[in-house]
């Protein structure tokens, strides 16, 4: 990446973090949804800067284009105005939360420790066709297809559950 690329990388990284925070802290669910869309878009720009336009496009098509539209659709249909704040959690729950946060920080820290903060995957040029060929190669095909069957099973399950409750 050149200097402009690095600047854009940090700008959109910051935007992703800020909008992720906004998503969690926001009380209005519709705002949260819009903030999440912004997170997806900034992540997509970062993927693009890292030399992977294919993932960048998929990030927007799948998450911003499909998943979040459905989220918003439901939010608007139900016309949720404001999140009802839950009562302050008890001391035991706070302990669990603190333990989980520590575990998460340790995990992220260990990843950074092992990877280092240098210019990691720079210079990796992948064309879309090459990437598709890799994805459908014998190495990844099985996992790829198994995932899609899993998603299909979840979909069928959701339809069955929805039908049963409608009767």
């Amino acid at each position: 990446m050149d200097a402009a690329g690095v600047a854009l990388f940090y700008a959109f990284g910051a935007l992703a973090l800020v909008s992720a925070l906004a998503m969690v802290l926001q009380r209005n669910p519709t705002y949260s949804a819009f903030a999440l869309v912004l997170v997806m878009c900034s992540l997509s720009v970062i993927f693009g800067l890292l030399g992977s336009p294919f993932i960048a496009a998929l990030q927007i098509i799948v998450y911003a284009g499909a998943v979040m539209v459905l989220f918003l659709f439901v939010l608007m249909l139900l016309n949720v105005q404001r999140e009802v704040p839950a009562r302050a959690a008890g001391g035991r729950l706070r302990l669990v939360a603190a333990a989980l946060v520590t575990a998460l920080v340790a995990e992220v820290g260990s990843v950074f420790w092992r990877a280092g903060l240098g210019p990691a995957a720079a210079g990796y040029e992948a064309s879309t066709a090459k990437m598709a060929a890799l994805l459908f190669s014998y190495r990844y095909l099985y996992a790829f297809e198994a995932t899609s069957v899993l998603i299909l099973a979840a979909l069928v399950g959701a339809v069955v559950l929805a039908r049963r409750s409608a009767q």
Partner: protein, 362 residues
Amino acid sequence: MNEPLPLTPLQQAIVSTLQVLLIFAANLGLFTAITYVERRLLAFMQFRLGPNRTGPFGLLQPVADGIKLFFKEELMPESATRWLFFLAPALSVASAFLALAVVPYGAPVVLPRWGLLPAWLQGRSFPLQIADLDVGLLYIFAITALGVYGIVMAGWASNNKYTLLGGLRSSAQMFSYELALGLSWVGVIMLAGSFRIQDIVASQQGFSWGLPNWNVFRQFPAFVIYLIAATAECARIPFDLPEGEAELVAGFHTEYSSMKFAMFQMGEYINLITVSALASNLFFGGWLSPIAFVPASFFWFLFKVLAFLFFFIWLRGTLPRFRYDQLMQFGWKLLVPAAAIWILATAGFLAFGPAARVAVLD
């Protein structure tokens, strides 16, 4: 002839800026022209005259409309969510223009060696395209997906039941037909072996049995699916339910006035241009010529785009509107399965047909 030197960053910036401005201005001009032509053509189809008072043949009507919209009072509902209400039209028009960035308009232009041009520009060739992305079609798909948010935001932020219903209808419709739209491209992508629109146009070169090798002949079902889904994506008649005036006042843009309303209109027409340009590039050989001895040129492309625009106006003058349940049934139960079956057929032809290529995997 020696290879021209690579451009300095400053020169590159100048060239890119000019490219963007030129393409932006050309599309704005086309947008202005369509608003006039559409009203006139619709009028003729309905045995009326249409706008014919402003300037010769009413040609200055778009200018008058623009001035009127600029000076209209801007209204905003008191209970609206202010920043989303402002953001929505901007998002809608920006996403429309962003999609145009990867559309190629013709073969690269080679500048002549005139004395008037700066020396570093002479004899250099420039593509008639802002960004030649490796994932061109996917990029367009992603940007159209973002365009939905402008509409959803407008419908929600206005805080009005009609706009909300209009926004919901739009998002459901665009979401459903985007699927068919994307699937209709797959056959074309498989034939070309690339997402790059330049490659897809190049794959349609040549003639067989006196006909050009255009995808409209090789991929006719995909073309029909594309045309229907694209009409629905642009919310044109017969798919203009999002703004069905009889039941929803004006749909998601009911509360918008003045230039904000104009921005929504502009976004819609720019989307229409994008859709027509894509139809020409993907299915009608872009700037390639249909006659063997006539060279390919930008004018072929322009002619094809204008023909598609005329077709969409013609549709609007001819067809009634769908009912909402018909729209959803048609999209999900007919268009999507048909597109999927056609993909299978194309894949089978490529794998086992006369020109079967052995895919090279790692």
